[in-house]
Amino acid sequence: MLQGWIQIAVFCAITVACVPLLGGYMAKVFSGQRVFLTPVLRRPERLIHRLLRVDPERSQSWKGYAGSLVVFSALSWLALYVILRTQTLHPFNPGGFHSGTWDLSFNTASSFVTNTNWQFYGGETTLTDFSQMAGLAVQNFLSAAVGITVVIVLIRGIASRRSGAGADDGLGVFFVDLTRTLLYVLLPLSIVVGLALVSQGVLQTLGGSVDFHTLNGTASSLFRGPVASQEAIKVLGTNGGGFFNVNSAMPLENPNQLSNWIEMFSMLIIPASLPYTYGRMVGSRRQGWAIFSAMAILLVVSVAVVYVAESHGTPAQHLAGLTGGNMEGKEQRYGIANSSLFTALTTVMSCGAVNSALESLTGIGGLVPMANLSYSETVFGGVGAGLYTMLLYVLLAVFIGGLMVGRTPEYLGKKIEAREIKLVSLAVIFTPLIVLVFTALALSTKYGAPSIFNPGPQGFSETLYAYLSQANNNGSAWAGYTGYVQPTAGNLGASGISFADLMGGFAMLLGRFVPIVLVLAIAGTLVRKRVTPVGLGTLRTDTPTFVGMNVFVVVLIGALTFFPALLLGPVVQGLTDHLF
């Protein structure tokens, strides 16, 4: 086990070392400063501005920004939906696939536009290479960039030091930020990571499937496709939607320990660097590290609990006389440590890529991914989304903590008053609210029943997890919850389960865009706030005490909301030797 701990520690150390590099780089990119890529990218950037007819100098109001973002996302959604529904017309369709059903396509389009990448479909058996490349991979880039733009606007709102600004609030221009994110951050990183993955043997081809005979002589075929290019942005953009149905457990998508590390690192690096970017942009690196620390504490606890629980096995295993850890649903080539680390990372980070089967985790081990989702992607979270959600919790912690030091609360000099608390509270409770309501509907109506494969707590867990994952835009699944029934590859004769597809789709859309609009509104009110200078009596938000307060608020509000549900799912299983 020691070896496993060492691997986990080394991985964390490498990431922390890289945080200032990427974080500092992004701070420069989003403050419009010159970076080493500027000479190469300035021309295409200006060209895009001209094509989109945007003026980078004229900042939008929060409403204008939100409007552009929502309209852009709606158009993205429509484009993706049309692509998914017209597969028979596609080039690059070596398998001759038909289109998926309307309800499945609704779910999938919502899934990729919201950076969720929830997959009711199996990629290699339902989608043409064109859908994968022009549909999903494009949205992997765009949805990730949208998340980053939102947090950048919130940072600008908090960092703004000019009070009572007029029409120009300095919040930025949506299309300018979007272009910068794509050109300067996501594309270059994806190229590097994509090539690194190819070097490790990840597939990259348009050659279609190959037929082969297995060792016992049966004919079989191996699906292939442009995997590496999609894999890179899948992890970098915390999207998580695998080319293959089994995601990163598939050898052609994640062949070895090194590729596994590259994928884990790529998942973590942007969300982990954004707090540093934040610190730089608000003019205090300590503020950034404070948020980073709160996130890191929760991540380390998650990893440790999964690893210990999985190494320990289950009561049922012990009863059957089995010793050693729980290897069910794990790949031998990663082992327990790297599977546990991957699991903790992908669920805190709202990525949703998996390299092991979550539904096969031990009871307590399975508690962790669920608990992580219940914190609403505050712990590093999705690119952009994680930090902006964490900042909402920081504002809550500031409000309660600020009262406890005897001042009306203020964060970085900006007073947190009724309007901010209204928006913050709404944004914080909204996602848990839809998770609870949708799960209850799925469990108690006859329309929900066909989706639930397993009986008992496992069936409950997979249902709860499905809505936790979709509403929080994570995308990983507790397999068993079904939205699409496909007898043979290629969508012929397949049928969607409309209830699950629609509920899931709405959970993703609401869970993504309602908080985004609220966050932009918060940025809009914060940007106009007068700044109170810092004094001795001001609550400092860059101290270990405040980090503790922050963790306290995240855990308490997350845990309190889902505590009853978690008891009925993973905890029940963890406490009994009964097999369900």
């Binding site: 009262l403 406890m404 001042r407 009724a418 914080v428 108690s444 409950f460 005490t545 308490l556 009964h578």
Partner: protein, 660 residues
Amino acid sequence: MNIDVLRQSLVKLDPRVALHNPVMFVVEVGAALSTGAFVLGGGSDPRWFTGVIAIWLWLTVVFANLSEAIAEGRGRARAASLRAMRADTTATLRDGSQRPASQLTRGDVVVVDAGEVIPGDGTVIEGIASVDESAITGESAPVIRESGGDRSAVTGGTRVLSDHLVIEITQEPGQSFLDRMIALVEGAARRKTPNEIALNILLASLTLIFLVVVVTLKPVASFAGTDISMTTLIALLVALIPTTIGALLSAIGIAGMDRLVRRNVLALSGRAVEASGDVDVLLLDKTGTITLGNRQASELIPMPGVSELELAEAAQLSSLADETPEGRSIVVLAKGYGLRERQLTDEFAFVPFTAQTRMSGADMDGTRLRKGAADAIVAWVGDEGGRVPPELQGEVDRVGREGGTPLAVARDSQVLGVIYLKDTVKEGMAARFEQLRAMGIRTVMVTGDNRLTAAKIAAEAGVDDFLAEATPERKLELIKAEQAEGRLVAMTGDGTNDAPALAQADVGVAMNTGTQAAREAGNMVDLDSNPTKLIEIVEVGKQLLITRGALTTFSIANDVAKYFAILPAIFVGAWGVGSLSKLNVMGLGTPQSAIISAIVFNAVVIPMLVPLALRGVRYRALGATALLRRNLLLYGVGGLIAPFIGIKLIDLVVHNVLGA
């Protein structure tokens, strides 16, 4: 606690009243529903269980109302005694006509003789008299009220003891200081403060999410093969929503105002009390606040070519009509030179001090005598065409350096010399300011003295900064400048001069002895007229916020233990394995006793915390981080642990003794 408080807490059960407090409204609805379930009977729960839960839910609401009623009751006694003073008097107007006091309007001029009660708030326009203000201030020693100057305001309901006064009424009927005071101490004029509104939104949001948690638990649990009764769900909901802070929130606010009233400070709005906790800069008048105020003339320094006697004579003459303590001390010092008081001729005309000229003096028999701040005298002599001896600045600087106040004396165009006024800093001020610094509050001493004097005293008193040669305009500028940088400014003041600055400051405390203009400009009135009280006001403001934050944290942290009490009880049959009973870490007797214990704890914690809510969490002048750590440990971690113990103890009674 008396019958009235109990009655009040039942009256507040009216749903229309309860609706103002969303958290307690939910509890009340829950109580009504479970009462309904008890009356109708049926369901899976034993009937006694439903009954007990219903009773304790009603008690929870009553306890909440009780806390508010107790807080209000403390003010009510005071209001009653004030109301007695308002007993209708008849006013005599200057033209001799009589009118009931309640019909006086702004601008009426009344005459009040010794022994009579002043019929309304106003400004003395003629006369000087001693007035007994004990009814509103509690201070039995009579105070002097006179026309002109900074002691001209009188309050309706106070009694003239000697002489008589002519008063111009400055209030509209029914809006006297006394009326406002009664409304304030009773809490009738209470509106939710901005921070209270923000906190209420947070509490309502938490209530909403827990409501959804509990409502969705029903189908979730039945999927797990266990049925949860409505009564149990209501009990769980009430246990989870932040009832502790919800119940005490308004009591905390009322008690905060009341604590100020007890310190003889009237806050004219709750907003001002809240703002006082945020104050960054405190403007303190030097005289009376930092120094003893009675500066004594201790030395006469003549200019070359002027005899000490000549200077003493001029100083004495210019001060004869000057009733300030400084003026009197000059006369006393001059007596030491063998100068006796003399008969004043008709030619004598006193020139009073004004904030603009910063001089006073006298005109007699064609000579004009002036004394005042050195720069003011220099300017005056210059205007008169005289020459200022070069030695003057040296002497003035010396006096200033030694911490004294130099007053220059001039006769017509000649500067005669300097009077050395000694100023003593009050004891313990340095420690006080040290405390304020630890709170993060900067103190600025405001004085009319010149820079050198001001610097010396500022250093001695330990203030952070000073404003020398202050005029009302400069004071106002200073406040605006601080505010422009985002700071909150508090100040005290009494004179009409101070009114603009008092109005501009975020927290303006007017002295009750001051003028009517000052009293109207400020948002607080200090009945004791004690400028150092600003420090206590700040503490009360901070306490108010800390108490809210601490009880909110406590309330939320409590939920963990309540979950551990109630969930194992209601999930006992989940999935038919019973493994969740391992989570009954408190070892509570039965599912019913567990739920009852959690609800009883939830209810009784409210009256147990009432004393804390009324008294306020003690404020310590620690740094903000240390304070947060302390309160987080006390109310956060404490709030996690305490209910485990409390619920277990209650269960011992409920289960082991009562057999539930």
